[in-house]
């Protein structure tokens, strides 16, 4: 085997008292895809930021093609042939594709080298099948296209090693296949790739070798990911076996939420057309569908943010007269939105404030029109303990928490008031196995207590595991509903494309 493209030896990096990485060794050969696995907070991103020059390691060395190199900045990393596609894209939305590519590239006789850039873009398109219109503003690109631009950007700078930090988290299933094809073609031409993920099926399908991190240390190495089971890898990641949650038999009671002929207009996404649904007490209804088929409008109507044009909705037998989040909440609705950071919590306020936000004016948290800080704090502290939310304390900035802990906080906030109906969107997106399992168990516990739950999601495995029934949305309609026993990934997939209707 030839010299590794990149070798990291004994990397250690601490933030204060926290050791984010401890004596980590890792190498990537040309033509190899290395999977970097680990739960959130295991130190994957820190390790890659060390490799990309964003953090200076406290100890350890980095070798590029056998030679030790000092990487103090992203410029050094780029010069050494290391490119990185961050989880949150580093693009300027109002500049064009070409301008985003040419940033930091020296010009020709004092001017931006436009023709040279175009030629290079074309060449990358030919070699790797990655192309984009050069003069389109980035804001006009889809998320998948923006990711492609990030990959092109790294190749544009002559990257020999590409780091991809959770690249599939933002993609639809169909886009994932395209990404994998491009990555395979790139390693076929001698590049090396580090693929960071906690989605085990993807890692098994794509990578040649895996390094698993836990608590900042290498917990294990997997030489044949394709022939290793997900359970074995999950055990390496978590340090213990993960059993699927026990789902008891459900005894659905009376209907707690009904939608009858709901249609909506406008509001950006796909509107709803004549949607009728029933959720009963003690039942989990899954909503499947390719993203953009009206799921957002459905969530917004049910949570009271989008009044429907026609149709009626009842919660626990009472017809909804006025569509506003506060009204619906008073009727017994709990909601966990799709985007925790923008519509879930106020990231710049203390966690405790966000945790009482929907009920801020109620007797529980205010007295005579004034906030009751002691009650707010006590509530937050109680929930932090009950849900094992890892944070410095109730007064910590909400934005400083990890995704899993934020989601736990949101869940705690809604469940503390025993909702009769709970609507959740993408409940475990971006969460690691441990956190996701915790969320699932809470849903099942609520189901046992007689709460009706609607789970809108793109992860079919998750929906199949949780749901008693699954409805499929297609172009703003309910294309069909299957009972949990009848539903399979294949059948749902077919219905999601509108191929099979089912009343």
């Amino acid at each position: 085997m030839s010299a590794p493209l990149i070798e990291m030896r004994g990397i250690t990096k601490s933030f204060g008292a926290v050791k984010a990485n401890e004596t980590v060794d890792l190498s990537v050969a040309p033509g190899e895809i290395l999977g970097l696995l680990g739960e959130n907070g295991a130190g994957k991103t820190t390790l890659m930021n060390v490799l990309f020059g964003a953090y200076a390691p406290d100890a350890g060395e980095i070798l590029v093609e056998g030679r030790p190199v000092a990487i103090h900045s992203s410029a050094d990393a780029l010069a050494a042939g290391i490119g990185m596609v961050h989880q949150h894209f580093h693009l300027a939305p109002r500049l064009t594709v070409l301008e985003n590519l040419l940033i930091g590239i020296p010009g020709k006789s004092g001017r931006i080298d436009r023709s040279g850039g175009l030629a290079r873009l074309k060449e990358i398109g030919r070699r790797h099948g990655l192309s984009l219109a050069p003069d389109l503003p980035v804001s006009a690109l889809s998320v998948g296209e923006q990711q492609r631009l990030e990959i092109i950007k790294a190749l544009f700078r002559g990257a020999k090693l590409l780091i991809l930090d959770e690249p599939t988290a933002v993609l639809a299933p169909s886009e994932v296949d395209g990404l994998f094809a491009a990555l395979r073609s790139m390693v076929g031409q001698g590049l090396g790739i580090i693929f960071i993920s906690h989605k085990l099926n993807e890692v098994r399908a794509l990578t040649h070798r895996c390094v698993v991190l836990r608590h900042g240390k290498v917990a294990g190495r997997v030489d044949h990911p394709a022939s290793t089971t997900s359970a074995e890898m999950a055990k390496l990641m978590c340090g213990h076996e993960i059993a699927p949650p026990a789902k008891g038999a459900s005894t659905p009671g009376a209907s707690v939420l009904t939608l009858d002929g709901i249609s909506t207009v406008g509001h950006g996404g796909t509107p709803l057309r004549e949607v009728s649904l029933v959720v009963r007490a003690g039942e989990i209804l899954g909503i499947a569908g390719v993203s953009g088929n009206g799921q957002r409008a459905l969530a917004d109507v049910i949570s009271g943010m989008l009044p429907p044009k026609t149709g009626t909705m009842t919660i626990a037998g009472k017809a909804v007269a006025q569509f506003s989040p506060r009204e619906l909440q008073a009727l017994g609705l709990g909601r966990i939105p799709e985007d925790r950071m923008t519509t879930g919590l106020v990231t710049n306020l203390p966690l405790a404030d966000s945790m009482v936000l929907p009920r801020i004016g109620t007797e529980a948290f205010s007295r005579k029109g004034l906030l009751d800080p002691a009650a707010i704090r006590a509530f937050a502290e109680e929930q932090i303990k009950a849900y094992d939310i890892r944070c410095p304390g109730p007064m910590a900035r909400a934005g400083a928490l990890s995704g899993g802990n934020l989601q736990k906080a949101l869940l705690a906030r809604e469940l503390a008031f025993d909702p009769k109906v709970l609507i959740v969107s993408q409940p475990t997106r971006g969460l690691d196995i441990g956190a996701a399992r915790f969320i699932h168990e809470k849903f099942l516990a609520m189901r046992a207590k007689g709460c009706g739950i609607i789970v809108i999601g793109e992860d079919l495995e998750e929906l199949l595991m949780l749901s008693d029934r699954i409805a499929v949305m297609y172009e703003g309609c309910i294309a069909g509903t299957l009972s949990g026993a009848d539903a399979t990934v294949a059948r749902l997939g077919l219905m999601m494309t509108g191929a099979e209707g089912h009343a």
Binding site: H90, N100, G104, R111, I112
Partner: protein, 314 residues
């Protein structure tokens, strides 16, 4: 009434627009560079005043107008560097630091002026720049005497507009400026130093504000008074928004404002004397507010404006 109009719309009127627009154009371009890099510079009003004072003093003491201009530009750049030190290097609030820079610069200007010139009954003046007609071009009817029989600094402003557009849109440095103003993290990960680029843009902006100040005391008024800037800096900030952070549009906005200002000056001097002159003085500002209300609705500021950049922040 037609006599009034005749009196207003003549060659002199056009020339006045150009003259009034010149310091505004410099100041607006300066503020634009700073804001494109993500740094609001509310120090502009004070930077213009201090530069105007410093340039005037240097010219008055040395007898060289161009030395005065140089000093004004250097002082402007220096104050830009001060603002950048606070807002870029230390990441402090751009609003607060900008107002601080304005208060500091204004106070320093008054103080130094008194220190150097004392309290004189007649404020000292200098022999300022003289119009330099450009051969042939200045013979074009109407346009010639209005545009091509002006101060050298006016020509400099006319050249500065396309030059600014070229630098911003066609050079790698200009792309870096736009990138650090839109998404500094993207620039950083592409190996561009956000701190250095912002420093450079704010310093360049300060230098242009210095030029604006120099024009006021060495070409327009040929003397320094405490009210010599009188809000032109604040107007420039509005004009940048009005011009949607684009050099051409910003310069156009400066011209438009200058037009209204020249118009009100003529109206003051014309037969409309029964209206108090303060009413005319208000016109350009009323115009600015109305224009802003209509035009700035779909104007989108650079995304990273007002946001300091720190690398290790997660």
């Amino acid at each position: 009434m037609s006599a009034v109009f005749e009196q207003i719309f003549q060659v002199g009127f056009l020339a006045a627009i150009i003259r009034i627009a010149t310091p505004l154009a410099f100041a607006t371009l300066g503020e634009m560079f700073s804001e494109r890099a993500g740094v609001l510079n509310l120090g502009i009003e004070g930077i213009m005043l201090l530069s105007a004072m410093a340039g005037f003093t240097a010219a008055s003491l040395s007898g060289s107008l161009w030395l005065g201009v140089l000093v004004a530009v250097l002082v402007g750049a220096l104050m830009g560097a001060l603002h950048a030190l606070f807002t870029v290097a230390l990441g402090l609030s751009q609003h607060v630091c900008g107002i601080g820079v304005t208060l500091f610069s204004s106070g320093l200007a008054y103080f130094l002026y008194r220190l150097i010139f004392g309290q004189q009954s007649v404020p000292p003046s200098i022999d300022g720049f003289k119009p330099v007609p450009i051969p042939i071009l200045s013979d074009i009817p109407i346009l010639g005497p209005a545009v091509f029989n002006q101060f050298t600094l006016v020509y400099l402003a006319i050249v500065a507009i396309p030059l600014a557009a070229f630098v911003l849109y066609r050079t790698p440095w200009g792309l870096s400026v736009r990138m650090v103003g839109e998404n500094p993290r993207a620039a950083d990960s592409a190996g561009v130093s956000v701190i250095a680029t912002r420093f450079q843009a704010v310093i360049l902006g300060g230098a242009l504000m210095g030029l604006a100040g120099a024009f006021l005391t060495m070409a327009q008024f040929n003397a320094f008074t405490f009210g010599v800037v009188s809000g032109r800096g604040w107007v420039a900030i509005a004009l940048v928004v009005f011009g949607r952070w684009d050099p051409w549009r910003s310069a156009g906005a400066a011209l438009l404002f200058a037009f209204v200002d020249a118009l009100q000056l003529r109206m003051q001097a014309s037969g409309l004397g029964h209206i108090p002159y303060e009413a005319f003085l208000m016109l350009p500002f009323i115009f600015t507010i109305i224009a802003m209300a209509f035009m700035s609705r779909n104007a989108v500021a650079p995304s990273a404006l007002l946001k300091p950049f720190r690398r290790e922040e997660r």
